[in-house]
């Protein structure tokens, strides 16, 4: 089963002893089967909150407004048991550090057998055969041998491959990869990027890639959402975001990446200023205090989401279609 995912007007706030933190505000996101969606932003932009909200794993002190519809079902309104079922079958998460995703005292094979517990129709031998096939598909040689390894016996790149295999075993409609290459070395990172890209041709669900690394996003995604301080400030086709960015934050973020410049720069570009305090989000545009082209309404009026093309949107007063 695979269907579309749509978060509309999604807001999440955390109730803390120091007041409520508005971690996510009025986020609209949609994804269709077969698409690779990128979510990019710097620390504190709310991308982890968005991922946990999509995976229905928010902590108890989180309050959610708006809706997340997956295949026509509102995830937020499901009861706990059906949420759990959905999480096991339909939504799979690959985290940044695969070491923490595995139980250190069980072999890879045993854990992957357990991951298929909902498949009552399969025997243990069949499950192991499925695992071997899946490990082979994610590029692990000697799959049978590796199944008897413990997580610490595998390298970081290998563990990330196993984590991807584990996620795909349940044949999920939604695969969320949260910073899948951040903990890896650059040569391993390139391999995982290519693995994900190779997999998408055979996999017809939605893949969401969350990263702070613009290179990873550009290499992998079809459509990209750029987040800043809990809001999606711009979204669109990957080419539009990287070559026709309209929101000043997206432009500044792209300009900061030293990987874009081949000539030596005397000074690296930066974005001056700091994130707004999310316990009291500004009434106007969240980026206005750091924005180079802020003008009169930016400080007081929240900017509308301007439609620039069929899929390209930016939340900015200065942008016109």
């Amino acid at each position: 089963m695979s269907g579309s995912l749509a978060a509309s007007d999604l807001s999440v706030r955390y109730e803390t002893p120091h007041g409520s933190v508005h971690a996510l505000r009025h986020v609209d996101i949609e994804a269709h089967p077969g698409e690779v969606i990128g979510i990019v932003g710097e620390s504190g932009c709310g991308k982890s909150t968005l991922v946990t909200a999509l995976a229905n794993l928010l902590p108890a002190n989180a309050r959610v407004d708006g809706s997340i519809r997956y295949n026509g079902i509102d995830l937020a309104k499901l009861d706990a048991r059906r949420q759990r079922l959905l999480r096991g079958d339909e939504i799979a998460l690959v985290s940044q550090d695969p070491m923490t995703a595995f139980n250190p005292v069980l072999t890879i094979g045993d854990q992957l057998v357990d991951f298929q517990h909902h498949r009552k129709d399969l025997g243990r031998a069949q499950k192991r055969a499925r695992i071997a096939a899946m490990l082979g598909r994610v590029g692990i040689a000697d799959a049978e041998l590796r199944m008897d390894c413990y997580p610490h016996e595998l390298s970081g790149g290998m563990r990330q491959r196993v984590a991807i295999a584990a996620a795909l075993l349940t044949d999920p409609g939604l695969l969320i990869a949260d910073e899948p290459t951040t903990a890896l070395d650059v040569t391993m990172e390139a391999q995982i990027i290519h693995l994900l890209r190779a997999l998408r041709s055979e996999y017809n669900g939605i893949i969401i890639v969350v990263s702070h690394n613009l290179g990873v996003i550009a290499e992998l995604c079809d459509r990209v959402y750029v987040m800043y301080a809990g809001e999606v400030v711009e979204g669109g086709e990957v080419d539009a975001i990287f070559h026709d960015a309209r929101h000043p934050y997206t432009q500044a973020l792209l300009a900061c990446d030293p990987a874009r410049f081949h000539e030596r720069l005397d000074r690296l570009p930066t974005i001056p200023g700091s994130l707004p305090n999310l316990t009291q989000p500004p009434s106007g545009c969240v980026y206005a205090p750091r924005c180079a082209c802020a003008f009169a309404p930016c400080g007081s009026v929240a900017p509308p989401l301007v439609k620039l093309s069929a899929s390209h949107r930016a939340r900015c007063h200065a942008v016109t279609p």
Binding site: M158, D185, V186, V238, F242, H243, L253, P258, A259
Partner: protein, 344 residues
């Protein structure tokens, strides 16, 4: 001009059993060279980028230079003097400073920033009539507000803690700064801030810097020379622009090709290198890169290449270094294209 720092054939050995356990234990642990025969030099005022992946020994090398890790062989010469005894290292440390990878973890958690910033002077026994004024001056140097003197390390953001790290490193006006992953964990909009700050202060104070990193995109803009490490050995060294434009060692070439490009129109077609990074505990025979090298030949499996000069200012450890426009480079692109066909 004579070099500020010269390292000659430096090796560091881990897990070597002591004399007593070697007598008692019939199966002593074998020893491993985590740093093996590293030779490099650093001129005054120069910035050297030391690049390698995890496990390449780059952090261990930096710590060995300052005497936190003991070298098993080789020599270190700092400002024309041999550094051998603990007293030599102390004298050297007085003229050098290190920035650690995790800026918050390298600040003593129960002390205030003001105390931490003036600690170097207190330890050196320098007279300081007004500690707070000195601390505030240092904060101003790195562009932080004076009110930070009363803060604790955990109350700072990553970028702010990094600035405090810079201030603390430069408090004693060192001649050499060793920075271990100065941008690790920083957002792309903040890492430029820290690097620009180091660059500005370098121009102002004239120290030499050695930046240990795996971030190629960043080091390209801030270093004068590069040294590439793989499994505890240097495989290539040379001026930064030359190394980036025409890498000679196949490993350097694969590193540069592996960097994801932030441009969807220029997506890399295939990964530049396959296979896992071997461990120093099971160092491959011959050339240590032959297990992953797209142009490895039989000779590479048996005979370890020497670290030899190429041209006037470059060093490479390879039997068949890539020459600009030469046969090997074409062979490399062909071979790495073939290898990709075999992948997943």
């Amino acid at each position: 001009m004579s070099p500020l720092l010269t390292i000659d054939d430096l090796s560091v050995t881990f897990a070597r059993a002591g004399l007593l356990s070697r007598l008692v234990n019939p199966f002593p642990l074998p020893s491993f060279n985590v740093i093996d025969g590293v030779t490099l030099s650093l001129m005054p005022g120069e910035t050297l980028g030391l690049v390698g992946e995890s496990g390449s020994g780059k952090t261990t090398l930096a710590r060995t230079i300052l005497g936190l890790v003991r070298a098993a062989a080789g020599r270190i010469v700092f400002e024309g003097r041999d550094v051998r005894t603990p007293a030599d290292f102390r004298a050297m440390r007085r003229r050098s400073a290190m920035m650690f990878q995790d800026p918050v973890a390298s600040l003593s958690p129960r002390l205030r920033i003001g105390t931490l910033l003036t600690e170097p002077q207190i330890i050196q026994g320098l007279p300081m009539p007004d500690r707070r004024a000195v601390a505030k001056a240092l904060l101003a140097l790195v562009g932080l507000p004076a009110s930070f003197v009363d803060r604790f390390p955990h109350e700072l953001s990553g970028g702010q803690a990094r600035r405090v790290g810079v201030a603390r490193a430069l408090a004693m006006k060192p001649h050499l700064l060793l920075a271990d992953e100065p941008t690790a964990g920083l957002d792309v909009s903040v890492q430029g801030d820290v690097l620009n700050l180091i660059g500005d202060l370098k121009r102002e104070l004239g120290f030499a810097a050695m930046i240990v990193t795996h971030n190629l995109a960043m080091i390209r803009h801030v270093s004068d020379r590069l040294a590439i490490m793989y499994l505890g050995r240097l495989v290539e060294a040379g001026p930064t622009q030359d190394v980036f434009c025409a890498p000679m060692h196949p490993y350097t070439a694969t590193l540069i090709q592996s960097e994801p490009i932030p441009d969807p129109r220029r997506r890399s077609q295939n990964p530049a290198v396959t296979g896992e990074i071997p461990s120093v505990f099971r160092r491959p025979s011959g050339c240590e890169f032959h297990t992953r090298c797209p142009i490895a030949r039989d000779r590479c499996k048996t005979e370890a290449p020497t670290y030899r000069p190429m041209g006037t200012d470059r060093m490479v450890r390879c039997h068949f270094p890539l020459q600009t426009g030469g046969q090997e480079r074409e062979a490399f692109s062909r071979a790495s294209a073939n290898q990709k066909g075999k992948l997943t």
